[in-house]
């Protein structure tokens, strides 16, 4: 169950094509970088661009299925939940992101 869900205020951060499939781009925010990922199926996910392990930039990892492998030490992070998978423990904050008319909209509230 998602605790609080603050979904106001979507910002237009760019066009869907700005992010390559199976890739990611970052958005600079006052809270630090947010990584926006695009899967093979064009689903978008947004996570804080910091690995729960040692803060590796997740936006630079390899995206596969609905996960990303951190470029620093290879932890696999679920894009859906922000949780580290397998035996690793940790979680990265998520953001709501959606596509409307080819534009990417990012919500400013964190999904806790």
């Amino acid at each position: 169950m998602d605790g609080m869900r603050v979904v106001e205020n979507f910002d237009d951060i760019g066009a869907l094509e700005d992010i390559p499939r199976l890739g990611a781009r970052t958005v600079t925010t006052t809270l630090g970088d947010v990584a926006v990922f695009r899967t093979a199926d064009d689903t978008l996910y947004a996570l804080r661009d910091q690995c729960p392990h040692k803060a590796g930039p997740l936006s630079q990892g390899i995206v596969h299925g609905d996960s990303v492998t951190c470029p620093l030490h290879g932890w696999v992070i679920s894009l859906q939940t922000g949780h580290a998978m397998g035996l690793d423990k940790g979680c990265t904050p998520r953001f709501t992101v959606k596509v409307e008319n080819g534009r990417i909209l990012l919500a400013s509230g964190v999904i806790a």
Binding site: I13, D18, T28, T29, D33, A40, D41, T43, G65
Partner: protein
């Protein structure tokens, strides 16, 4: 007569299409004679099956065959049909509707079934003759008036409708191009893997598919001349005698809005199909229910039942939409999808890829229930899956075998193989039958796949039947069968590295999705372990042809720089053979100052490392370095790293050969080459070996007589000294042997295997047989290496600088501060 009709309630239907007439049929079934029915239809024809416009266009059906309700039917049911007249006005106070030619009808109950309008892109030239949409019989007639063999059609939109139009016009002999905005076809019905297969199939039928392509304008003579071509945003120009726009539909809610009914995207209806006026119902594609609009008939049939029940007052059901399935009506291409086939939060996939038959199936499960299906190439089981999906029952034990369909869902694949007839063909490439293989196994006591391949050729070509051949070995040998312990590349596949490489070559697999399909990958798009490996194998197999996939590169290779523990990068330009100049050093110094680079260090590889460069600065740093003639050192890559040298005979009192010059020449010849792992060379000017050549992948040591060539060394945790490959006389020999050795390593070692473990695995003798003993193999390898280098020796940074994307990947897409 008057009395009669005033006794009956008046039902007026606006829209003589599929939804409206189905509702009328349902009403007639429930309460024949209850209403005086009047139907307005904007189209001149009686109600026809709009779905069948595709076969009509393709020439598979005639108009008569697609009529649903003939004129005689309207007569027989006492329905007043007003065709060719669109309703223009609804007056809710006087309860009358007025048609464009003046017909007026009073209603007690009004049913809106106005369908939807094709979306028309507001682009320059869109009103030119020859640019049209695909929605009605009139549209098909217009297309057919232009279509002729040899003429060009451009379809805008690679969705269901667009592809059916493309197929029809292709069958009419036109040369067809499809322009699709998204990176994969039919993204609303298919996942990426199935879309890839579809694209290949359509391509094989001669259609040109332009994906990720955006239309700029429709061009022709003057302002109003017939369309002649379509210009894309990237500047490409496609010839066009006919343009069909199939980019989506919009609910047709114009009338409803004009008479003050609540509308949003469509006419808003409640669960009983009533609009905001209780006497007016709406149904079909024109409605919006619970924020959802519809574009397929299955939910519309449900709506018709609900509306009829309420209109006749016989029952009080509510409309609750169920998942609908989609099929593509293109002969010879089987495709079905339904439900949440993309998967989402908390779903799991079961994927089956049968490469030989071009089949891809993906079942999406949530908890223990089926919630989405994609079938491509074989839709025989689609109905069964769809039932499972709609019922939403717990799958239980079905789960493990359901991917094989209802027939085998309870049995196991081995039983199916055992049941195959002796004459069944197992290996399609070589035409080998089941009996041939089983006999060979029995007669010659074969025990491994390799044995079977050598003896019968089964699975020796494209290899897609390997699984079947293994199954036959298992059947024949029973418990004695010990499958080769080829370790799978990763958890995404059952195949080992060598098998994958063999198949890439033999079956001419040229893209990552093609490998995953042909070799039946178990995950939709691999993982961080197999994707970089596949990308590398393809680069080596198809030089000059394969387009590198940036998203399958590890971060360092994608950013052309080494990522550091704080997320910054280090930059190492090449210094050929460890040599540099005042100009280069000055350029480096300037860059360090300009970008406040925190650390500069001389590396163990005889060059200079600038550490702590910010991602956003990488491009600008390299623009300056490139301007001074410096190129990337690939210090980040599974690639040729450094060629270390010592000063050699030019300066050193012991030197017997010019080791520096040879080292520089070797680096100039080999830089830019990708390898299974990093590769380091070194050249020493005498056996004192100051360049540490005997712990390098390829080490060269000068002697009085010529050069000693050493291979398979490395430093690192497990230091390994090289073994002597051979002795050669001239610098040309060194060059040829070095390049041939590197090529053999590139072609045969497994991804992430350095030369040391590779040579320990295959043996030095194996390498010597190819590089030293057999001049023919050596020169061929040398030639292959040089050929591949033609495409590899481009400085990645010079490419980035000229890249149209302006280095976007290095910057944030947006700043929200």
């Amino acid at each position: 007569m008057n009395m009669m009709s005033s006794a009956r309630k008046k039902l007026v239907v606006v829209g003589n299409g599929m939804a409206g007439m189905r509702t009328v049929e349902e009403i007639l079934q429930r309460a024949p004679g209850m209403f005086d029915i009047t139907v307005f239809g904007a189209e001149p024809q009686p109600n026809y099956d709009r779905i069948m416009l595709s076969p009509l266009l393709a020439g598979d059906k005639s108009f008569e065959q697609i009529v649903i309700n003939s004129l005689a039917w309207y007569q027989a049911n006492n329905i007043k049909l007003i065709t060719g007249e669109a309703v223009q006005d609804i007056n809710r106070y006087s309860r009358t509707v007025t048609g464009e030619h003046g017909s007026v009808s009073r209603y007690d109950i009004l049913l809106l079934a106005t369908g939807s309008n094709p979306f028309v892109l507001p682009l320059p030239g869109v009103t030119r003759p020859g640019v049209m949409t695909f929605r009605s019989v009139a549209d098909v007639e217009q297309m057919l008036s232009i279509a002729a063999p040899g003429k060009n059609a451009v379809i805008i939109g690679g969705g269901l409708l667009g592809l059916e139009a493309a197929h029809g016009l292709n069958l009419r002999g036109m040369s067809v191009s499809v322009v699709h905005l998204m990176p994969t076809l039919m993204e609303r019905q298919l996942d990426a893997s199935a879309a890839h297969l579809l694209e290949r199939k359509l391509g094989a039928r001669g259609m040109n598919i332009y994906i990720s392509a955006n239309t700029e304008s429709f061009d022709g003579a003057g302002d109003n001349g017939h369309v002649q071509s379509v210009t894309l945003k990237d500047g490409q120009c496609l010839k066009a005698d006919l343009v069909v726009m199939a980019v989506g539909i919009r609910p047709n809610a114009t009338l409803a809005k004009a008479c003050g009914l609540a509308t949003d995207r469509g006419v808003l209806v409640d669960d009983t199909m009533r609009t905001s006026d209780p006497d007016i119902f709406a149904i079909g594609e024109c409605i919006e229910h619970n924020k959802q609009c519809y574009g397929l008939v299955a939910p519309i049939w449900d709506m018709a039942k609900v509306a009829a029940d309420h209109i006749c007052g016989v029952a009080q059901p509510v409309f609750s939409p169920v998942a609908a399935g989609t099929r593509l009506k293109v002969s010879g291409i089987e495709m079905f999808s339904a439900g949440a086939f993309m998967g989402d939060k908390s779903t799991e996939d079961i994927v089956l890829r049968d490469a030989a038959r071009g089949v891809y199936k993906r079942l999406v499960l949530r908890e223990d229930r089926l919630v989405g299906v994609v079938c491509f190439g074989d839709t025989r089981d689609a109905g069964w899956y769809f039932e499972l999906l709609k019922n939403g029952d717990s799958l239980g034990t079905l789960r493990d075998t359901m991917i094989f369909g209802p027939a085998t869902a309870t049995g196991d694949p081995d039983t199916a193989l055992a049941a195959l007839a002796d004459s069944a063909e197992i290996c399609g490439c070589n035409g080998i039958k089941k009996a041939t293989i089983c006999n060979a196994i029995a007669e010659h006591g074969l025990t491994t796949i390799e044995d079977v391949r050598t003896r019968t050729k089964a699975s020796a070509s494209c290899g897609s039947c390997t699984g079947l051949v293994e199954g036959l070995l298992k059947l024949s040998l029973g418990a004695d069968y010990a499958p080769e312990a080829a370790k799978p590349m990763c958890k995404c596949t059952l195949h080992g590295h060598d098998e994958v490489r063999r198949r890439i070559k033999n079956a001419a697999l040229k893209t990552i999705p093609a490998i995953m399909q042909a070799m039946q990958w178990l995950t939709p798009n691999g993982c961080a372990s197999c994707r970089p490996a596949l990308n590398f194998y393809l680069l080596v197999a198809w030089p000059g042809e394969y387009v590198d996939d940036a998203q399958s590169r590890l971060v360092n290779e994608r950013m052309h720089a080494n990522i550091q523990k704080d997320g910054t990068y280090s930059v190492v330009p090449r210094m050929w053979g460890g040599t540099t100049s005042a100009q280069e050093l000055r350029a480096i110094a300037d860059v360090v100052d300009k970008f406040s680079i925190p650390a500069v260090k001389v590396t163990g590889g005889q060059r200079i490392d600038m550490l702590g460069v910010k991602k956003e600065d990488l491009r600008a740093v390299w623009q300056d370095l490139n301007a001074a003639g410096l190129v990337s050192g690939h210090a980040y890559g599974k690639a040729l790293r450094t060629v270390k040298t010592c000063v050699g005979s030019e300066w050193c009192r012991f030197g017997v050969q010019d080791s520096t010059a040879l080292g520089v020449a070797l680096e100039k010849a080999t830089w830019g080459s990708w390898h299974p792992h990093k590769v380091k060379l070194a050249v020493s000017g005498c056996p004192r070996n100051c360049a540490e050549a005997t712990i390098k992948d390829f080490g060269v040591v000068a002697t009085d007589a010529g050069w000693d060539l050493h291979v398979g060394g490395n430093g690192g945790i497990k230091v390994r000294a090289t073994e002597l490959l051979c002795k050669v006389m001239t610098e040309q020999d060194v060059m040829e042997y070095a390049c041939a050795f590197l090529q053999l390593y590139r072609m045969e070692a497994r991804y992430l295997e350095r030369t040391a473990p590779w040579i320990e695995r295959v043996g030095l003798k194996y390498v010597q047989e190819r590089i030293v003993d057999n001049a023919e193999i050596r020169t061929a390898l040398f030639a292959d290496f040089l050929y591949a280098q033609k495409f590899a020796q481009t400085d990645p940074w010079a490419e980035e600088a000229s890249d149209k994307t302006l280095g976007r990947k290095f910057n944030a897409i947006a700043e929200l501060v």
